[in-house]
Structure formats: structure tokens, C-alpha cells
């Protein structure tokens, strides 16, 4: 199938992009096009205008602060994989990026696009949930900063308005004592994950974060974990309590993914 005809614009500034989005409520933002491209060709998306944001210099920038790194929305998975941007999570982002789809997808696909699409099986959602990152959103009336857990409302559902643009993701820096593990279960290399497990243990920041991703909706944060070493045994009960019990197979693979992430962190 081929896309329905659309207009195409390539603004140079965030303000320019937002003006275009304000004028055309059915406009779609085009970044890497790795999801939107197929959606257009399948005619599931039929926007009258595509706003290509890949030439907005600001969106490709990195801003480093003492306790965080802010990554521009159009930074590609490949740029993270290749270490071309700083990794505030001391290698976790690089590890995650390396496992996203295939290299060809990583070359074009962007962090911002992945987050804005909010597919529950996307890697960055689970990863940034574990890191408690903050989404930076620009709109006609300025910028707002939204914790990732509030940003995603459900599958393919975010708090983004039609005239807003996700401009960056602000990721806290982990300390030198941090350990982490990441595991996803998928049918084949490069496929969307069926289950994701993330484990981040940072005594320097005093956090132990476990996340089960690729659920029907938002990633599940496994709460009440104090020590990673003791975490594995309670995962099944925690995920059951979080509502993953409808399907024994789904529960089992999510438990396995989180346990493997824990094992990965413990082995680090």
C-alpha cells in the first residue's frame, strides 16, 4: 500500500514546528519514521501535513548538567548505541539501544519518536521509567516537564497535545556505584519485546528500581524493593499484585525478564 497524499514541511525551529502543528490539527510529526512510515503506507495514518523535525538543530542537542543529561528528541538509537552522546546511566542506555530492532531501524529511529508513540513494548519507555527520567515538552505556551510515569497514560496514549512537541528527555545520572541489568524476551532478534525487565541498583543515589515492561499499558514499577539480592523471589507476587495475572504465560515471561535483569545487575 501507498500513503495518501500529504503536504510536507521541514521547519528549522521548535517554534516553527509548533506553529505548523497549531494550524493543522491533523498534522503528524515525522522524525525517524520507523513507525509512522508503515502507518502512512498502511493508510492507518492519513495526515494532511507531515512536519519533519529532523532539521531542527536544537532537537539533536545534548545538555549536560551535574546530575543529569538531557538528550534531544531526534537523537537516534544508533547515536546512543555508538556512544556518540553521553550516557548518564553509565552504559545502560548504550546496552538498551544496541538491542532495539535492527541496525537499519536504529539508524533512523529516534528516542523522542519512540517515547511519543508510547508503544508499551518499546525499550526506551521501560528503561527511562527505571531511571525516573523526565520528558520535556514544548507547546504554544512554553515548556513543561513531565515525569515519564505521568507522560505515558496507556498503550499508544500520552499526554501530548496535538500542538505540542516532545523536545527532549532529561535523564538523571547514575553514580559510580550503580549496577543495572536489562533483559527482553522476544520471538526473534529485532522483534518487539514480549516482556522487558529492567533492574537499576544505585547505592550512591539510594535507589533500587525494578521495572517490568511490554505489558498491556504502562511499565510496571515493582515497588518496595530494598535489596536487589533479595528481590528475585518476590517478583511473581509483585507482578501478580500489579495485575499481570490474567495470563499465566504472560506472567511467567515477565517474571523471567525481571529476574534475568536482576541477575544481570548482580553479575555486573
Amino acid at each position: 500500500m501507498k500513503a495518501v497524499a500529504f503536504d510536507y514541511a521541514r521547519p528549522r525551529t521548535v517554534g516553527g514546528a509548533i506553529r505548523l502543528l497549531s494550524e493543522k490539527p491533523d498534522a503528524k510529526i515525522l522524525a525517524g519514521g520507523q513507525t509512522l512510515g508503515p502507518m502512512l503506507n498502511l493508510r492507518l495514518a492519513q495526515p494532511s501535513l507531515l512536519v519533519d523535525i529532523t532539521r531542527i538543530a536544537e532537537l539533536a542537542e545534548v545538555e549536560e548538567a551535574p546530575d543529569s543529561v538531557t538528550l534531544g528528541a531526534t537523537i537516534t538509537h544508533a547515536a546512543v548505541e555508538d556512544g556518540r552522546v553521553p550516557d548518564p546511566a553509565r552504559g545502560l542506555l548504550q546496552l538498551v539501544a544496541n538491542g532495539i530492532a535492527y541496525r537499519a531501524v536504529r539508524t533512523r529511529g529516534t528516542i523522542g519518536g519512540s517515547l511519543a508513540h508510547a508503544d508499551p513494548s518499546a525499550d526506551w519507555l521501560s528503561c527511562f521509567t527505571a531511571l525516573e527520567a523526565t520528558v520535556v515538552i514544548a507547546g504554544p505556551f512554553g515548556r513543561r516537564y513531565v515525569p515519564i510515569m505521568e507522560f505515558m497514560r496507556g498503550a499508544l496514549d500520552t499526554g501530548l497535545e496535538h500542538d505540542e512537541l516532545l523536545v527532549a528527555i532529561k535523564v538523571p545520572k547514575l553514580s559510580t556505584r550503580a549496577r543495572y541489568g536489562y533483559h527482553k524476551i522476544c520471538r526473534k532478534t529485532g522483534e518487539f519485546a514480549e516482556a522487558i525487565g529492567v533492574a537499576v541498583d544505585d547505592p550512591g543515589l539510594g535507589i533500587v528500581r525494578l521495572v517490568a515492561g511490554s505489558t498491556q499499558g504502562r511499565p510496571i514499577v515493582v515497588d518496595g524493593i530494598e535489596r536487589l539480592e533479595a528481590a528475585a523471589d518476590c517478583i511473581e507476587a509483585k507482578l501478580l499484585a500489579a495485575g499481570l495475572g490474567d495470563d499465566a504465560y504472560e506472567l511467567s515471561i515477565h517474571v523471567a525478564a525481571v529476574k534475568r535483569a536482576i541477575a544481570g545487575a548482580l553479575a555486573a
Binding site: 497524499a5 524476551i185 520471538r187 526473534k188 504465560y249 511467567s252 515471561i253
Partner: protein, 781 residues
């Protein structure tokens, strides 16, 4: 000597790969004709419905065609002569009813595909939905909705074979019964289907470029349905990016474009996209079996009793019909085993799904799965090693040639030796040793074997009784020298990955000694090649190979006679070797002889064969019941019981394809086939909901194995010549795809033996493995 290095048996690099690997192939999608328009089809969104109306906006009326417009175009009928067969009538564009999701309803024409899809989106299709016949067992039950309402049930055909079955019960010491299923798949060649059609006003001829395996059969079908002379149809199959059976069909799209190009006086193009390929191309492999195997107290197979159903879809596809799969099950189910009693009933069931097509391996992939998985269950019941159970019943080499219980004539081979070598190569004893200790990672290790025979190149005597739209007879090759000593070979079959441009060149080279770079294979154009039923049934190396050899033999004789004259020698005293005619007085090259024929006729012998250096010769095997290549596959797997994840740790194939013309190409065929077999085993499945809606419409839902899913498969060869073919070669193009589902499933069931879980449905997905463990008698959870 040159011939030995580059002829039959040599690992000659594939000639066609130069253009393939450089992106210089010419596919249907590469063809551009002046003024060409593109076609998009409006397809049925429902599986089963009455068409109440098709409303076309008046502004678009000249760009849209529906069934009523196609006056004079006959529907597609692929009948068989088998008693009791019910005929289906497949309209080119649906009228009255739609019978599967994706069936053509309207043809929309525009300068580009996108615009043609815009046109299609403007059409209002008013359908009255009918109950979908979406599951073949329900379709067989009384009271089911009918796919074809003038039938009294949903059965194209029922067949029954009974060989002294009634007397078995008294003798059998043990039996097992299993219900098995293989899921519907979508064949997925890299290049989908595609058609370009135009009417050549000079020749008053329809020219159709189509991505097909059978240009001559398509030509016959087009002429019949369009009601024009066959001489008015030329079909060209340019480079074709994989066939596998997906392109062994007369397409309604070919007919629609052929009709419309003449009507409009414009060249038309339609290229199937991947969504079309998945939805209306989900057309293979869906089988269901209830199979009982009986054995005596020594574990020797006594009998098989089977009821098999094939979901044959909404129409009987041309030319192979709706019954090829189910009909074959009855005759090939006995596999490579020798046993005395047999009963098999088969059902070709009509459903609201795309018409079934034979996919690489045809019915054998399902049959091998059903039989070999059931045999392993029998072995477990008897407490025997699965290899031992098989050794007791495999046809033995000293029985060859052997007529089995369904009168299949096995030509040659040593089946037990293939299994022994597979068992040794995979290390059965080592795996059994390893299984005694739990794995540190908690995974379960299993080993599985599966065997099959692959009948190939079977001809007239096999197909005549089927009465489908074609019966293969002799195969021809036109061979001719060019004035500069080059050799052209023209065949009616088509090469689309098989490497025939190389292997047939090797055959010619063995006989004539012409270097490969001077041999050109011409194929894929009905105007330039002899008639052929095309490329299917692993027949080309036997049939086209035999024909090329026959033509080259005749050319060799003529070349020798001319050469002898030029050498002033007696024709009896000259030999053809290394591309030269050699006699007592000297040597002369074949090229020089060709130059003499064409350009210096004054030097020819007076009694020269006036047909010159151009012949058409035909071939039919000494026995046309086909060759039987065979193999033993062995797999070792690790299964994670918590997640159902499966890893293939080792995979061995011991294959006997007779004399190998090019062992490198054979290895490629086996690897490629095995990759598809792994797809069947572990990944590929087109699920349907209760309304007959296909649920996998993109490649993120329909999972194909990729490079990281296919293990490093070790291939060992045996080479038992066929007594019936020109060089002892056997057809083997499909075998790789036959056994992996059975071998891998057997390995998984071996791994799970402790839990009592058994996998009986392919693909064996992680979810199915997990559920089998959860539901097993010894389930821990």
C-alpha cells in the same frame, strides 16, 4: 581435464549471482512501459458475504472495473478427474459473493499505485456478512455454513485407502493415537507476485510479464479464460525472486490485467505488496491429523490408521487444484517404512480462506510432522530409542527398488544408513549422557530425529489419473550453437533461485566441453522456449537436465561429423573432449566447427545433417514414477520451561539426492529449505478469528525466521544414483523444508518427556510450549 573440473559434480559458482548480487536482476517491478498505468485492487474486507452493491462514483467510472464489466472472461476452474470431486468456480472479480478476505472485487486504474488506492477508497462496497467457514473440522460437520451453496457440504474431495487394515487389531501389541495440526502459513518469497500486461498491436498479441514459475501453464490458462488463441498470448517470467509454489498458479490478477490492457489500450502494472502477500497469500500448510500407529511387541511398525483434513480454502487453484495436498497425504503418509496394514481417509475441505497452494515440500511437511512425531510417541510408549524404532521398520537397501504399501516406487537408497550417520553426527549417546545431569541454567535438553522421502520429477503416469489442468509429459530443450561458437540452451521451465543457469550449463559442459562463459540459458519466455509445465515438484534437474543432455548429445554427434570432415578423419575415429573434436590427425575446436557451419558451408561434408547446429530434443525418465531423494534430520534443543523459549543447539542433515550436479548449490538448497522448515516449526502462523479475519497483516505479526534464528546446519551427503535418470541425479529442491518441524518437535517432546508434555501443533511457539508443560500430567506448576 576441463570437463571433470567444471561439469557434473563440480562446485561451480552460480553464474546468475553476478547480476543478483549486484542488484542488476530484472524483475516485474523493474519493467516500465510507455504510458503504463498502475492497478490497485479493492479486495473483500470480509471472509464470507453476499455482495449487495458496489457503488462507484460516476467521476471514477472509467477507472474502475467490476465483475459485470468483464464480459467474455471465463472464471478459473481447476477440476480434477478424481471421482466425487466437486468443482469450484473462481470468478476473476467477485460477483454475487465473496469467499475470503482479500478476494478481488474491483480493479482500479491510475497513473500511480497511490492514486489507484485513492480510487479504491472511493468505492462503496455494500456487503451482507454470512457466517464464515473458518475452521476445517467445523466445516466438515453437518449444519456448517456452505462456502459453495450449490454443494451439499464443504468437501472438494474425500479419498480413502485401505490396505488390509481390518486384520491389524489382533496382531498389534501396542498403539498410540495422536491428534496433530499444522498452522496455515503465508509463503514469503522476497519478491511477491507481480504482473505487467500490454497488448502488442503489431503482433496482435497479449504480452504478460508475470512473476511465475510456470509461464507456459499461465499462457494456456490465460488463453482459455480470455477466449483467445494461445498464439495470441506471450508470457514472460523475467527474474523471479523466489517461487516455492507461491507462483505456481494462474492468478485472477493476471486475467484482470490482461483483459483491461486490451480494453484500454494501455500497459498496466500490478505489484503485490507484503500486506496482500500475507492476507490473500496465506495459502498453505494447514493440515489436521488423527493418526494411530500400531506396532508389534518388537516395536516393528504394523499399521497406520489416519484421518487427515486439509484446509483447502475457498477455490480450487489452477493448475494444481484443491486436492493436491490432501490427495497426496494418503499416498505419502507411510514415509520410508515397510509395514503391512494401512488405512487413510482424507478430506479436502472448502473454507473461507485463500485457495490452498502447494508450498515447498507440498504435503510432505505436514505428513512428516504427523508421522514422525507419532512414531516418537510410540517409541516413548515402548521404551525404545526413537532411532531403534525406526531401524526396525525402515525399508532396507537390499529391498531397493521397493514398491511401498501405496505403490510408491522407491528407486534407490540406504535409509537406515542415513539415520545411522545422522545419529552419529549429532552424537545421540553424548546427548543421552548429558541429559542425566540437570543443566545449570534449568533448561531441558532434547534430541529429535525425522526422516522423509521426496518424490521428484514424477511424470505422466502419476499425474494422468489426477486429471488436473495439466499432465507433465516429455520435457524439451532447444540447443544451438551461435556462429562464434557460443551455446544457447532454451528450456520451458524457469529458474528463480535454483541455479539452473549454472547447473544446466554444467550438464552441457560435461557433454560438449563448451566453457561456461560461452553457455547461455534462455528461459522464462513462451515465445523463446519449448513448452513446459514449468518449475515445480523438484523436477528441473531431472527433466530439464535430461533434456539438455539429450539435445547436447545430438549436437555432439553433428559436431563430430563436421569435425571429422574438417580433420579428414573417419567419424568413427574422432572424439569430443574438452570442447574439441580430436582425431588421429589433429584437433579442432567446437567454435571453429560452428563457424564452419554458419559461415563456410562450402567446407561441410556432403552428407551433413541439414538441421545444422540447432536441435530440439526431448526427455522422459526411463521410469516416470519419480526419483526419491531422502534425508535424516537430527536436532538438539534446549527448552526453558519458565518461558517456553527454545534454542536449537545443533542440527544435522544427512541427505541423499543421488548424483549431485553441483554440491554447493545443493547445500544452498538444503539450507534455504531448512530455514523455511524452521519457520514452519517455530514461527510462521496465520491465525484467523471466528469471522475468518486473518490476524497477521504485517511482518511484525507474521514472524519469519531471520539469520539469527537459523542455526549453523551441518549437512552430510550420501550419493546413491537413481537408476532411472540420465546421470543418476535426483530432485531435491524441497527436502530441506520437510523435516525441521518434525525433528525439532521430536526434540522438544524428548526434552519434556519427564513432564509428560507433548507438542502436537506447529509452530511450537513459546506460548504453546509453556502451555503444554502447564497442562501436562506431571506439571509442577
Amino acid at each position: 581435464m576441463v570437463a571433470a573440473d567444471q561439469g557434473i559434480g563440480a562446485r561451480v559458482l552460480r553464474k546468475e549471482d553476478d547480476r543478483y548480487m549486484r542488484g542488476r536482476g530484472q524483475y516485474v517491478g523493474d519493467i516500465r512501459l510507455p504510458g503504463m498505468r498502475e492497478v490497485a485492487f479493492l479486495r473483500s474486507p470480509l471472509a464470507h458475504a453476499r455482495i449487495k452493491s458496489v457503488r462507484i462514483p460516476s467521476a471514477l467510472r472509467d477507472r474502475v472495473f467490476i465483475a459485470d464489466d468483464l464480459a467474455g472472461v471465463a472464471p478459473i476452474r481447476a477440476d480434477t478427474a478424481l471421482p466425487g470431486f466437486k468443482s469450484s468456480v473462481q470468478p476473476v472479480l467477485a460477483s454475487a459473493k465473496v469467499r475470503y478476505v482479500g478476494e478481488l472485487v474491483a480493479m482500479c486504474i491510475a497513473p500511480t499505485r497511490a492514486e489507484a488506492e485513492d480510487v479504491a477508497a472511493e468505492i462503496e462496497l455494500d456487503l451482507e456478512e454470512l457466517p464464515a467457514v473458518h475452521e476445517m473440522l467445523a466445516a466438515r460437520a453437518p449444519g456448517s455454513a456452505l462456502v459453495h451453496e450449490h454443494w451439499d457440504d464443504n468437501l472438494y474431495l474425500t479419498t480413502e485407502i485401505d490396505v488390509d487394515f481390518a486384520s491389524v487389531a489382533a496382531k498389534a501389541a501396542a498403539s498410540v493415537t495422536r491428534e496433530l495440526r499444522t498452522s496455515r502459513q503465508a509463503m514469503s518469497p522476497l519478491e511477491g507476485r507481480g504482473v505487467v500486461a500490454h497488448w502488442d498491436t503489431r503482433l496482435d498479441q497479449l504480452v504478460v510479464y508475470s512473476s511465475t514459475q510456470q509461464p507456459h501453464i499461465v499462457r494456456t490458462g490465460l488463453a482459455e479464460c480470455l477466449g483467445i488463441d494461445e498464439g495470441q498470448v506471450r508470457v514472460i517470467a523475467p527474474d523471479v525472486g523466489g517461487g516455492f509454489g507461491y507462483k505456481g498458479i494462474l492468478l485472477p490478477e493476471e486475467l484482470a490485467l490482461s483483459w483491461a490492457t486490451r480494453k484500454l489500450g494501455l500497459p498496466l502494472k500490478w505489484l503485490e505488496d507484503r500486506r496482500e502477500c500475507l492476507i490473500n497469500g496465506a495459502d498453505c500448510r494447514e493440515h489436521h491429523y488423527i493418526l494411530t500407529a500400531y506396532a508389534d511387541s518388537d516395536g516393528r511398525l504394523l499399521a497406520l490408521d489416519c484421518e487427515a483434513s486439509v484446509d483447502s480454502g475457498a477455490y480450487s487453484a489452477y493448475p494444481f487444484s484443491a486436492c493436491l495436498e490432501a490427495g497426496q497425504i494418503g499416498s505419502i503418509l507411510p514415509g520410508l517404512y515397510d509395514f503391512p496394514h494401512y488405512r487413510c481417509r482424507t478430506y479436502s475441505v472448502a473454507t473461507n480462506k485463500p485457495p490452498i497452494l502447494p508450498y515447498r515440500g507440498v504435503a510432505r511437511t505436514g505428513v512428516c510432522f504427523a508421522l514422525e512425531v507419532t512414531l516418537d510417541a510410540l517409541a516413548r510408549k515402548l521404551g525404545k530409542e526413537p532411532t531403534e524404532l525406526r531401524f526396525a521398520s525402515l525399508v532396507r537397501p537390499e529391498q531397493m527398488p521397493f514398491d511401498n504399501i501405496t505403490k510408491r516406487h522407491f528407486d534407490s537408497g540406504d535409509y537406515p544408513e542415513a539415520l545411522r550417520r545422522a545419529s552419529d553426527a549429532i552424537g545421540l549417546e553424548r546427548v543421552r549422557e548429558r541429559q542425566r545431569t540437570p543443566e545449570p541454567d534449568g533448561r531441558l535438553i532434547g534430541i529429535g530425529f525425522a526422516m522423509y522421502t521426496e518424490q521428484a520429477g514424477h511424470g505422466t503416469s502419476v499425474y494422468a489419473s489426477w486429471g488436473i489442468p495439466f499432465v507433465p509429459g516429455h520435457e524439451q530443450c532447444q540447443a544451438r550453437f551461435t556462429p562464434d561458437g557460443g551455446l544457447e540452451l532454451r528450456i520451458g521451465a524457469h529458474s528463480h533461485g535454483q541455479g539452473l543457469e549454472t547447473t544446466l550449463s554444467q550438464v552441457a559442459h560435461s557433454i560438449l566441453g563448451v566453457p561456461h562463459e560461452r553457455i547461455k540459458l534462455v528461459h522464462g519466455d513462451t515465445a523463446q522456449t519449448p513448452y513446459s509445465t514449468g518449475t515445480w515438484g523438484s523436477r528441473c534437474m531431472i527433466m530439464s537436465g535430461g533434456a539438455v543432455a539429450a539435445a547436447c548429445d545430438q549436437l555432439a554427434d553433428r559436431v563430430k561429423r563436421i569435425g571429422a570432415k574438417l580433420l579428414q578423419a573417419d567419424p568413427e575415429d574422432v572424439r569430443l573432449e574438452g570442447g574439441e573434436v580430436a582425431g588421429p590427425t589433429g584437433r579442432i575446436s567446437v567454435g571453429e566447427i560452428a563457424r564452419t557451419w554458419y559461415r563456410r558451408p562450402q567446407d561441410l561434408p556432403a552428407d551433413v545433417e541439414p538441421g545444422g547446429l540447432e536441435v530440439t530434443a526431448g526427455y522422459k525418465a526411463k521410469r516416470d514414477t519419480g526419483t526419491f531423494s531422502y534425508a535424516a534430520h537430527a536436532a538438539v534443543v534446549a527448552v526453558d520451561p519458565d518461558t517456553g523459549e527454545l534454542e536449537i543447539l545443533d542440527y544435522v542433515i544427512v541427505e541423499d539426492g543421488g548424483v549431485l550436479v553441483n554440491p554447493m548449490i545443493v547445500d544452498g538448497q538444503i539450507w534455504g529449505g531448512a530455514a523455511q522448515g524452521i519457520g514452519t516449526a517455530l514461527y510462521e502462523e496465520m491465525p484467523y478469528d471466528s469471522r475468518g479475519q486473518p490476524l497477521a497483516s504485517t511482518l511484525s505479526d507474521y514472524i519469519l525466521p531471520g539469520p539469527t534464528e537459523v542455526p549453523d546446519i551441518r549437512i552430510l551427503h550420501m550419493e546413491t544414483p537413481s537408476p532411472y535418470t540420465r546421470f543418476g541425479q535426483k530432485g531435491l529442491g524441497e527436502g530441506g523444508a520437510i523435516a525441521p518441524p518434525a525433528a525439532i518437535t521430536n526434540a522438544v517432546n524428548d526434552a519434556l518427556e519427564g513432564s509428560g508434555a507433548e507438542l502436537l501443533v506447529s509452530p511450537i511457539t513459546p506460548r504453546r510450549i509453556f502451555q503444554a508443560i502447564a497442562e501436562a500430567p506431571g506439571a509442577a506448576r
